[in-house]
Structures are given as structure tokens and as C-alpha cells.
Point group: C2
Chain length 213, copies 2
């Protein structure tokens, strides 16, 4: 397809596509004449990915470029490549200065997971557990296991489509899935709280005088 | 306790406590002399809450002030007060211009939840589902139910400590729990993915030549 057709199909204006091309984020099409290039499904997928990261999750261009460079030339094994790519997703403002993760290490080992200090979520967990400590909210092996037990079946189902993908496809899928399903999960959790509170707290009828006082 | 003891106990410097007092975020202590005031456990709890919102979740002061004003004078029923307070937590940059939430409405009803367009997570879900659509990622009743079924038992366990709390305590707990457990959940989900990928992807031994090529 031509660039105008790619724009129509992907929902990104031609000027945006030209920006992606100039920035090297979108690979050039196959030249069919000095002024014309042909784009295929791989270009379409790439535009969808860039749009999702920029427009849906609000990532800065520099982070998108980093994710794309990992997808285009994944270094190390798939676990490492996925870790680096997902590490370029928010949160960015995780306050944790030391390179030690004592809370996260204890928590991760108690969950039966591999402790990997280089995996960015390890730092996120450390900061999150420190935050609970500072606020005086409880966390312990039992509470964390409850989260693990609920999240593992979800994570397993989320990984099913990755079977048979090569590293590049798998990293793309992992980034998109992490970036776009996290907001779904947080929204459903908040809605579940609302639903449970609504169901359990008796509605006070403003017409009925409060007889307790 | 005196302000210096409150500082030591809460981990917030005296200058920070004075800032909270000046801004009306922390209630004044009980005056015991013209230059001295006495602080109690309610002040300690308030400082912990403010610190968690500002330092752990990185909320702007204006949002913290909004949450505190809802806690101090909750309007409407508990569901409404909790909705408003939690609505002052991130995400703030949810791009959704219309006041209609067609995707979220269909999704929420399919989950058997009450559709409430005024509950902020409804808007978050709309934006999240639109994001999946734009990226060409699938979502349907079955996928969403999988998330609901995993999250409902967690949400139920999270609400247990709220039994017997009055609205003010319940709103405080809901805000803190939402703000501080969301990062834990996202980190554990990313760690679960890492763990599952590590377990299922055979590690390539760099010493062994790749016989596939």
C-alpha cells in the first residue's frame, strides 16, 4: 500500500508517518519509483505499536525509540530482551537510590520466583514494599502469595499467544500487552472495589431520618 | 507528643510538618502553652498518609489536598466519597474527550457490575479498551471475565479490614490501599511473566553451537 493508504488504515496522519520515518522509528517502504514507496503489513503493525505507546500510554519519544531498538535487535536471551523492553515502560519515577533490593529479594524468594536485580520490576517492587512500610500498611508472605496466586493464571493466559513467536515478535507482544493491559487491570480492580462496597454498604435513604442519633 | 517527636516518629522533617500545617493539610496540635502543641496518633496517621501520597506515589500537592478534603468532609454515601477520593489518584492523563463510555459500559455490564459513568475508573476502562482496539489487541467478555474472576477474591480480601470503619476511616484506607497496592500488583504481574518465560523458554548455552542454522 502507499503511504496515504497506510495513514488511512492505521489512523495516523501522513505527517505523523513522515515524522516516524525521519526519526528512524518506522522502516522505509520498498521504493517502486523515485517518489513512491510501497508499505506492507509489517509497517502497519509498527505504526500501531508506536501509536499505542505514544498515544495510549503517553510514552516520551525517547522511550519509544529505546523499545523499538530492542525489538529490532534484541540482545541476549528472550528473558533479557523482554526485561529491557518492558523496563522502558512506566513507571519512571520509582524512587529507590540504592542498588540493593532487600525487601524485594525477600519477597521474590518467598514467592518462589528467581531474584534478578537487573529486571526493572524488581526495583519497582522494592519501592512499592518500602512505600507500604512507610505508610504502616502490612505486607508479608501470605499477602504477597495471595497476589501471586491470583496473577499467575492471568499471566499464563496472557503468554499463550507467544507460543511459536520468534524473539522479536515475542518482545513486541510483551511490550504491547504489558503497556495496554495494565490500565485494564487497575480499572477492573477499582471497579471491583466499588462493586463490593456498593453491595455490602447499605444505601442510606435521604428521606428516612437517621434513627441512630 | 511534641512536633519534634512527631517528626522522629513519622520520618518527616519538622520543616515538612510545618509546611503541612501551614497548608492546612495537617490539623494543628492541642496547644499546651503559647509556643507548644501536643500531637497525637491521629496526627501521626495523617502524616503517614500525606507522605505516602507525595513521596511514594508522587502525587502533586493539589491532588493530595483534594483527597484530604474528601476524607475530612466526605460528601454523599461511602461509595461516592471513595470514588471521588480514589479519582484524585493517578492516572491523570487518560485521554478520553467524550462523556460517553460505550466500550466501558458494555464491558462493565458484561461483568455484572453497576455501570456508573461518574466513577473515575469507568473513564479509565474506556480509554484502556479503546487503546486495545487501536493496537489491534483482543478484548471480549471472556477475557475481561478472566480478569474479574482473578481480581474479585483479591478485592474481597483487601476490603476485609474496612469492616467496622466509619466513612472517614474507610475512605482513608481505600485511598492508601489503592495508591500503594497498585504498584505491588503491577510489579508482581511483570515478575510472574518473567518467571513463566524463564521457565518455558529453554536457556541457550552460549558454549553450544547453534545447530539450527
Amino acid at each position: 500500500m502507499r503511504i496515504s493508504e497506510l495513514a488511512a488504515a492505521s489512523g495516523a496522519p501522513i505527517t505523523t508517518l513522515k515524522f516516524y520515518l525521519r526519526e528512524g522509528m518506522l522502516q522505509r517502504g520498498r521504493s517502486t519509483s523515485p517518489t513512491r514507496a510501497e508499505y506492507g503489513p509489517e509497517h502497519f503493525d509498527r505504526v500501531k505499536l508506536i501509536n499505542a505507546l505514544i498515544n495510549v500510554r503517553g510514552l516520551p519519544i525517547a522511550k519509544v525509540r529505546k523499545i523499538l531498538s530492542i525489538i529490532d535487535a534484541p540482545q541476549g536471551d528472550p528473558v533479557e530482551a523482554m526485561g529491557s523492553a518492558i523496563g522502558a515502560l512506566p513507571p519512571y519515577d520509582v524512587a529507590h537510590e540504592s542498588a540493593d533490593y532487600p525487601h524485594a529479594e525477600a519477597a521474590i524468594k518467598s514467592l518462589g520466583f528467581t531474584f534478578d536485580p537487573n529486571f526493572p520490576a524488581t526495583r519497582h517492587l522494592e519501592a512499592a514494599l518500602e512505600g507500604l512500610d512507610h505508610a504502616g500498611l502490612e505486607w508479608n508472605k501470605n499477602i504477597l502469595s495471595r497476589y501471586r496466586d491470583a496473577l499467575i493464571p492471568l499471566a499464563e493466559a496472557e503468554l499463550v499467544p507467544m507460543k511459536g513467536m520468534d524473539t522479536q515478535e515475542a518482545v513486541t507482544y510483551a511490550v504491547l500487552g504489558t503497556a495496554l493491559y495494565e490500565p485494564v487491570i487497575l480499572a477492573i480492580r477499582r471497579l471491583a472495589h466499588r462493586q463490593l462496597v456498593e453491595t455490602h454498604v447499605p444505601k442510606i435513604d435521604p428521606e428516612t431520618p437517621d434513627v441512630r442519633g
